[in-house]
Symmetry: C2
Subunit: 373 residues, 2 copies
Amino acid sequence: MKIKYNLIHKDKNSNARRGKIETNYGVVDTPMFMPVGTQATVKTLSPEEVKDCGSGIILANTYHLWLQPGEDIVDKAGGLHKFMNYDGPILTDSGGFQVFSLAKPKDITEEGVKFKNHLNGDSLFLTPEKSIEIQNKLDSDIAMSFDECVGFPHTRKYVEDSVERTLRWAKRGKDVFNNPRQSLFGIVQGAEFEDLRKHCVEELVKMDFDGYSIGGTAVGEPKELQYKQVEYSCKYLPDDKVRYLMGVGDPDDLVENIERGVDIFDCVSPTRLARHGHFYTRYGKLNVKNARFTEDFTPLEDSCDCYACKNYTRAYIHHLIKSEEVFGQRLLSIHNIRFLIKMMEEIRIAIENDKFLEYKEDFLKKYKGKKDE
Amino acid sequence: MKIKYNLIHKDKNSNARRGKIETNYGVVDTPMFMPVGTQATVKTLSPEEVKDCGSGIILANTYHLWLQPGEDIVDKAGGLHKFMNYDGPILTDSGGFQVFSLAKPKDITEEGVKFKNHLNGDSLFLTPEKSIEIQNKLDSDIAMSFDECVGFPHTRKYVEDSVERTLRWAKRGKDVFNNPRQSLFGIVQGAEFEDLRKHCVEELVKMDFDGYSIGGTAVGEPKELQYKQVEYSCKYLPDDKVRYLMGVGDPDDLVENIERGVDIFDCVSPTRLARHGHFYTRYGKLNVKNARFTEDFTPLEDSCDCYACKNYTRAYIHHLIKSEEVFGQRLLSIHNIRFLIKMMEEIRIAIENDKFLEYKEDFLKKYKGKKDE
């Protein structure tokens, strides 16, 4: 079945939304943060550990799975859920973000994008139809249209042309889409130009997608500009469809963008930060490799209910990360994912009580009061 | 308390023994294989996963923990069990094996061994007293005497002198040992010379250790020689104390040495093999990276009851290992550890029924019938 978004409550003092998404694999409460399982695994973690963090939905990357193991293998396994033994909802991206970071400008044509395979240098070509075909076979619950992800900075002229191409590509993808178990999202582009974002939303809505993503963010733009882009997109998006902001996951960005009306987010940061020893706390990000944690026999964060905080100390995790032991990365990954998802749980309650702005103010005051390590 | 070994049954047709070790952290059935947690973590796994494999006891390395985090940190944490959140029995080695692989012959003196820290090149000195002091602080359940691990090949003259030094070192270590919760093992050396092994056992038994280890194996000697060394040690060891063969863990070596009277084993192989894609099966060792597993949607081993085999396919693990995803290493580590421990469970039943030799014959016929990949 297609997903169904139910808007439960709108915060009285902001555009923050409390909702639910019904999927083939259960209900997802929103706002929600999605951990990233690039290669059909959330790095270092088991599906059970991801679920224990309260994760309602995860993301997998079409580009990576296309190259390895290939969509036909996943299809033969019975789809991504069976292949990776994950019985919760899965969203796939279109591959566009990776492809555009690998392609040269001259290789972006109306037909599609030519680029080199990052594993072996082979020449590859991705089109809107191919992206949908791969995702149909991966059998994720939510697929993304193939869009042009414009970098930063850029000219207005380039963005104007690119938005039109993104719209033509969205149409081409929708025309070949043929998996009845899957939902398809359109992607709003238009950079920081409100009229282009508005135009893009209007044209996508005419095509009637099952949900909408906000693209062109997390490409190196200043944070204030990111928030503007989100504002200029949400303002025109329909209330009855879910809104997904791609690639954004810093705690401060989560609250800023939820205020503007975003429902779901994804980002590699909780697991990537973990690999470098970083962990989130209410009072900012810390690095467990710091010498002051050598003899700190308290949890990563006193108030946290995650497996790492309930069972291990900063001193032990400091030792593991210094010793390059994978279990240290696992513990930090669990903590960081749980941190973001617990934020979402608290935010959902705040929205239900029309207190989102108070939550945001309180959160940012603590979180930004301290310099990141 | 000190450990207590209870010999439950001796196989009628071999020297295989079925026993139990009572420890501060529960009872360990023997024969038993111990997974290795070098740096206070069994590589890539949580303590719960190690326990789910049926592991009765694990090993941690004194040398590594001495360097990082240091025994004083572990002591301040409340000992190794609390530090790593493991509530099962833990055995520590003496550090000798690592130290002798790092030291030059001229740096081995009566007082101790000079060698270079493998992390930063600093000059270090380890003595029998220091090894015991470190282990006392680590607060493992079973500590090892500091012995000279003689390499292969060697001269009889060298081994003769070395056995005497090992005996003097065992005495020195025992004299300073002062942790009442901990048991201390003596280590039998003497290479392939039966009279030297006999002499070493007799002198150690006079000192009355809580158990005995068989050392000087797994140093590059031929397998037949290893079995001889074990035979020449077990023959003289007392029935009422546990016997531990250090660093041995190949499935064929396990059955050969259990036949000769060994109770417990440790080896890094199940987790090390996992990192290279290898996994055990009844019909030999396979490499999951092999192209024929790309579309193999069966478990690593049909008859296996481990978490990996119950939930994932060879095709998925092939994909994970090819993609260098840690979760693939985790799954193979779990399978390999479970494989060895399940062997131990079956062997215990075989011994109880005086059918160990039948088990061994059947096992080796299948296991060696196929070339390792």
